[in-house]
Amino acid sequence: MTDQGIGARVLRKEDKRFITGKGKYTDDIVQPNQAYAAFVRSPHAHANVKSIDTSAAEAMDGVEAVLNGHQLTGDGIGNIICGWGITSKDGSPMNMGAWSALATDKVRYVGDAVAVVIADSKAQAQAAAEAVMVDYEILPATSNVLASMKEGAPQIHENAPGNLIFDWEIGNKDETDAALASAHHTTTMEITNNRLSPNPMEPRSAVATFDESEDHYTLYTTSQNPHVARLVLSAFYNVAPEHKLRVIAPDVGGGFGAKIYIYPEEIVCLWASMKTNRSVKWTSTRSEAFLTDAHGRDHVSTATMGFDADNNIVGFKINTKANLGAYMSLFSSSVPTYLYATLLSGQYNIANVYCDVQTYYTNTVPVDAYRGAGRPEAAYLIERMMETAARELGVDPGELRRQNFVREFPHQTPVIMAYDSGDFAGNLDQAKAAADVAGFSARKEEAARRGKLRGLGYSNYIEACGIAPSAAVGSLGAGVGLWESAEVRVNPVGTIEILTGSHSHGQGHETTFAQLVSERFDLPTDNIQIVHGDTDKVQFGMGTYGSRSGAVGMSAISKALDKVEAKVKKIAAHVLEASEDDIVIEGGEVKVKGTDKAMGWHEVGLSAYTAHNLPEGMEPGLKEGAFYDPTNFTFPAGCYICEVEVDPQTGVTEIVQFTASDDFGTIINPMIVEGQVHGGIAQGIGQAMLEHAVYDDDGQLLSGSYMDYCMPRADDVPNYTVSHHSTTCPGNPLGMKGCGEAGAIGSPPAVINAITDAIGNNNLSMPATPSRVWAALQQVSAAQAAE
């Protein structure tokens, strides 16, 4: 047996090229006759474009063309769309404002592109872009939902009165109101979920090539889902029909959601390639990334949770206002709705949940999915509420959760989701033991002697992954199905290629997907190659986001492997003159059970392709494909416990212990899963304590570089204690739930619950910077002085 199957800590196959600097990223692609694009971007958050004078730029050295939005729309390039339709309470459709890849008459955020220069070199393109003279009529701007919803606020899109995009609801309002009215205790909070910049290490990039002789386009781009990109570029943006457009996402250095969407720059590169008959390359600067990559989160919510006299939750009501930015990005509408409010029952048995959500335009870059996408917002809301309620009720926060846990499965929540499995109390117990919660009070006293305030906070998160059953999401407004495809090609010599519609941009698919095959056919992972990211090689696929590549992508591979296995057994049974039922595959051989009759694995492959001796009627070859459409979401869950020490003199928080107990179902490679949890928690700590995308009231981005946008560094995060307490997911053949986002979803509330516990003041928003923590401590001192 190989030791590289499911559950093995196989080293990542892809790391050899990544660690030695041999990865091939989009910016590494150099095409013959390649030109460079530089965008002319609005310095204003909101302005009418009165005129654009390109004459000086056109006359500059090396300039091939200066193109604008009127030319783009004149050539029939379609507006950028949001692919998930949301219906408001009153039955009306969402108010999607027109978004042209190059603005024509109006700009709506700082960074909105109004023109593009194509030149021989990057420097020439940049220089000419600065020489393009745009006459702006500056308009008043708004940069947050509270400003956008005000009477008389600047109107950003004509078809969205009051800047309202939609006003949506889920759950049962009347029953929830009644439950809260009769509650023994209610806890109410106003909760803000801070806005974040995604910051993948590799900035976005595109290289577009139009081949006039074939009337064919090729686009290399930094995409998490190249097939979706091709579909949208073709069907909605009218760049080219699908069979005349190849999209390749080579090595991609991180995505976190920001590389799901199709942005203006990629569209413009394709179109400009046709206009100039040259390959056109654009690579985002880090400054452009801050301005133009879709941001994440940015919710303002009010929530009330009611409890009966025995501390059982009787109702939960939430109002959320979400900022979607200046335009609706590809999946923006789904994030504060179906990816968020459907998780508002948390790990708890709550009979009545109601949430309504209003989304608004603002003069900021579009907001869309960012690692967790809606689920971190839900987890933060619920878990801050639970901790706060426990403090108000005077009960142990872990035990308040425990008594309200869902314990029987399947469990239908009032907000669509049907949880299929879990052992929430098991995760709580495992985390509490690992965190030595019993010893906390002694540690707190010891810290106090050193002048430090020590606090402990819980977070019992649940999320929905494995997105998603196509019919279900279709009924909720999704414009696409969310299945996955796979193809297994066994070569004549027995090596295997797996073609997958999933896309790896840091997840390690080349390793874990090979482990799945190794498990099935008992072959070394070196004999297995994963092929992904090229629409000419892989027939179709939906890509990687929402922690779906294990539960959905690998399930598709598993289905295709079933078909290959069946054919292998048929061939072997025929050649070895045995019954199919007696054929076993192990140790590189295909054997007749209990006998010494066997064929080498490679001999089966050869038999399939020579076709000299196949069963009557069997087609030659050994290649099978499958589509897998999940039957339900999957529900990763877990318990995180954070312990902090706050320096009351400076407000500096140190995370002294962070303990995770996760339920991801089946784990293919524990090392990679631990890496995902570590990275996710680091991002969650970043949101909780460090990261904040801030616009001023005029819509200027104040956090436009790493001088002001605080990314977590190694010394900002602790050593984590991670563990697993898993239940098998009944919904897919591998029993997998997904692990890519859990850390980012579960950790922020644990951190804030710990800090607020330490400082004795619950009035603290993310990011809990030293300045904010100190200010919260001042409130405590002032209140004490007043008593």
Binding site: T650, H692, S703, M707, C710, T769, S771, A775
Partner: protein, 264 residues
């Protein structure tokens, strides 16, 4: 980055005469501020006169009670100097906390003080220790050198060649780093000098680095962290930004002054 003409100077006179002949030239030392600014197209000097290769600017010497550091000495060089460690350990501690190893390997003391970033560390060292800034034409006391944010007493074309630090009886530096940039949000140099206690604050003030007379008085009377923390700072004189309010910075001045005393 815009096009620029690069010239590597061989001596101080070579550098100053070269710069004098340029349209809008700048001295380049470690380039840890100027180069990123140029890359962002926020600065466009016609010429760069690189002074980092001038050997005469790279010496550290201790003569009696004076430590002289050449303008082109890198932060790493100062941080690793046993002579400085013996004479003014607070200066070694300050230099070893600037930026990160890459910045310390390139950035220079002359570049730092000529730029006078309101959040840089060295201006606090110069002002707090009562240093004298040596240029190609004169010597300027630190009290007169730092004029305001990014402003110094340097004349057009004048070049810093060295900084002379008098050895203090005691000195300590404490920095509260900006969480994002890790520049000083509040950095305090407190020193017992021949001319009394001096306290300089960087990162916090509206006008850049400044001497804090109330802290000097309090620490002059009682050199202790408690004495420093008892001194209040007017928030109206402090910067405010997305990282911290002016009240917070005003509060941190006292805390960091106390820690500077503890570090002395």
């Amino acid at each position: 980055m815009y096009d620029t003409t690069y010239y590597r100077a061989s001596s101080v006179s070579d550098a100053t005469s070269k710069l004098a002949g340029t349209e809008d030239g700048k001295f380049l030392a470690g380039g840890q501020t100027l180069i990123p600014t140029m890359k962002q197209r926020l600065a466009a000097p016609s010429d760069l006169v690189d002074v980092s290769g001038i050997d005469a600017l790279k010496n550290i010497s201790v003569d009696g009670d004076t430590v002289t550091i050449g303008a082109a000495c890198t932060h790493a060089q100062v941080a690793g100097s046993s002579e400085v460690a013996q004479a003014i350990p607070a200066l070694v501690s300050l230099a070893s906390g600037i930026g990160d190893p890459a910045v310390r390997a390139r950035g220079t003391i002359g570049g730092s003080i000529a730029n006078n970033d309101p959040a840089a560390d060295y201006p606090a060292a110069c002002l707090g220790l009562g240093a004298t800034i040596v240029t190609d034409s004169r010597e300027v006391p630190a009290d007169e050198f730092f004029v305001g944010m990014f402003e110094t007493a340097l004349e057009e074309g004048e070049m810093v060649t060295a900084v002379k630090f008098p050895k203090p009886a005691k000195a300590g530096y404490a920095k509260f780093p900006n969480p994002a940039s890790r520049y000083a949000m509040v950095g305090v140099m407190a020193a017992q000098t021949a001319n009394g206690v001096r306290v300089a604050v960087t990162g916090a003030g509206n006008d850049g680095v400044f001497r804090h007379s109330a802290l000097e008085e309090a620490l002059g009377a009682n050199w202790s962290a408690d004495a420093a923390q008892g001194v209040s700072t007017d928030a109206a004189d402090m910067m405010a930004d997305i990282h911290g309010s002016s009240e917070y910075r005003a509060h941190l001045v006292g805390v960091m002054a106390g820690r500077a005393v503890d570090n002395s």
